[in-house]
Point group: C2
Chain length 323, copies 2
């Protein structure tokens, strides 16, 4: 569930160039309600598109649940705490449409119709991982693109490693790049199992750097055709079930992708991408790259809820940069 801001037209950006998005800062926005001065709030939905929805133990089944989290901005402890949760009940929107499930971001919830359960989560202190779930340029394959499945153009990556200090590199597919961002998360685990993170209003400060196509530039920028992250300490290579689902799945790609995603496919894609990065950037043979991947690269599950499921491959840059 996300709102987006954009697109930003980048002067001089052309297909074949690479857009670097440097994340200068990501800050939770304080609540505007004077009763909650100095606090920020976020919500997590265990939603119908989550991995758990058809696999619940307790009744009623299926069900959706919203959990509200708070962040005390005065404390520098970098944690979020749960305040209360409630089971979703059908909500009537201001236009008279009934919403039996959580199908629209920002739907006002009638607090008299829900049952809040306080004192939940046993005091759990969730470490913050502030980031934007969506960071995208426009793909060239379609005029109107569903913002949920991520792809070569970035999009709904839902990878918390793209936080403060990180750079995301995206291949530019259309003139002006058309950068969009949104889906701010206070924290998220790898996999984003229930369908959402701690969705939280946040202010992002980004620096956009245009890397013109060049045979002289850094090797990792040449022929980049997928979202690549540099956290400063690590390379994070983003794999998907389909590297480019818009071209791979034909005319109905934007609906088909929801039926054809798998972590197995995303693992294959991530393996091929990190192999290529190692061969081009560090001048390794294929055999050297494969050995290094087996002994020093970690594969994790990025998300299993956005249609085009993700696996990322992470490698410490210190393996090659020695002081």
């Amino acid at each position: 569930v996300h709102l987006c801001t954009g697109p930003v037209f980048v002067q001089g950006a052309e297909p074949g160039d690479v857009l670097e998005i440097r994340v200068i800062d990501v800050l939770p926005r304080p609540s505007a309600n004077p009763r909650f001065r100095g606090k920020a709030f976020g919500s997590n939905a265990s939603a119908w598109w989550g991995f758990q929805y058809q696999d619940l133990l307790e009744e009623p089944r299926p069900r959706e649940v919203v959990t509200i989290y708070e962040i005390d901005l005065a404390d520098d402890d970098g944690i979020a705490k749960a305040v209360y949760n409630y089971q979703w009940v059908p909500q009537l929107d201001p236009f008279g449409t009934l919403h039996p499930t959580i199908d629209y971001p920002g739907l006002p919830v009638d607090h008299s119709a829900i049952k809040k359960r306080f004192g939940i989560l046993n005091g759990a202190r969730i470490p913050l991982r502030p980031h934007f779930g969506v960071l995208a340029v426009a793909p060239k394959e379609a005029a109107i693109v569903d913002s949920i499945p991520p792809g070569y153009f970035g999009g709904n990556l839902d990878n918390w490693r793209i936080g403060r200090g990180a750079s995301l590199y995206l291949p530019i597919a259309v003139p002006g790049a058309l950068f969009s961002t949104g889906d701010p998360h206070a924290s998220q685990g790898d996999a984003e199992v229930a369908g959402t993170a701690i969705e939280c209003s946040m202010t992002g400060l980004f620096q956009l750097i245009l890397h013109k196509q060049s045979s002289d530039g850094p090797a990792f920028l040449r022929d980049l055709d997928y979202p690549l992250v540099d956290t400063g300490e690590e390379w994070v290579v983003q794999g998907f079930s389909y590297a480019n689902y818009l071209s791979a799945l034909g005319g109905k790609a934007q609906s088909e992708i929801y039926n054809k995603s798998s972590i197995d496919l995303a693992m294959r894609d991530a393996f091929r991408k990190i192999r290529r990065l190692l061969m081009t950037t560090y001048d390794l043979s294929e055999d050297e790259a494969i050995s290094l991947i087996s002994v020093a690269v970690d594969f994790g599950v990025t998300q299993v809820v956005d249609g085009n499921w993700g696996v990322h491959a992470t490698m410490k840059k210190s393996i090659f940069f020695h002081g």
Copy 2:
């Protein structure tokens, strides 16, 4: 490729109890060759059972490659460096059998028949993650069990987080538990893509602690039916394509498992296990557990090469233990 030591009969151990294996230390063994005093060596094979074998870019295809790594035991830098690699060529064993592929651990290699490539891997410094890939008790389902696919009894987990200071908890299935260990690794990445880690002769020091079945004991020990790891800082819940492949796949389970593994299945298993751990250990409702998993639990790919593929779920214990 692994050799194992065991089984160790644990006095008083009965089915339903839990064996805790505390990893006190894991130390690389120095080379006995006086020319290489103070060094330890390990080998990594990109083998026919690896994820890359049918997916190679360069000729000849397919091929197997062995990479030799060294550790300087005098340096306290905790890294391994590549020395040379070579492509596998058929090897004749001392009994006259020809081995066209790497099909047997410890096969002597005729150094005059291989072509060593030195100066490889561009100075890569691989951080050490010393651990034993195999830590097992005996399953009850079969008298002779293939040591390659892991399962509820532990086995070839290939999870590097079970290193020095970690505890592995395994459900005991037969009288005496019958603990075995082996497959020492100097380092490994999550996924173990090429089929092996840096396989290295190592000395392990383990403390075995028997936890008798009890309704008074810690909640996480009750009804434990899978390998659970406590690294001190994190819970690591081990999921598999099949939680118990020996019972799930019938009489031919030990061959069928190689055709039926998937990361998608292992993700489902890991999700169910961490949900249960959170509900029983921290008294969370299902809704609380699911929200926490979505915002604070990381799912990673343990291995895709051992038959019963693994996904592990990792959660920081500090979320609940506050100072």
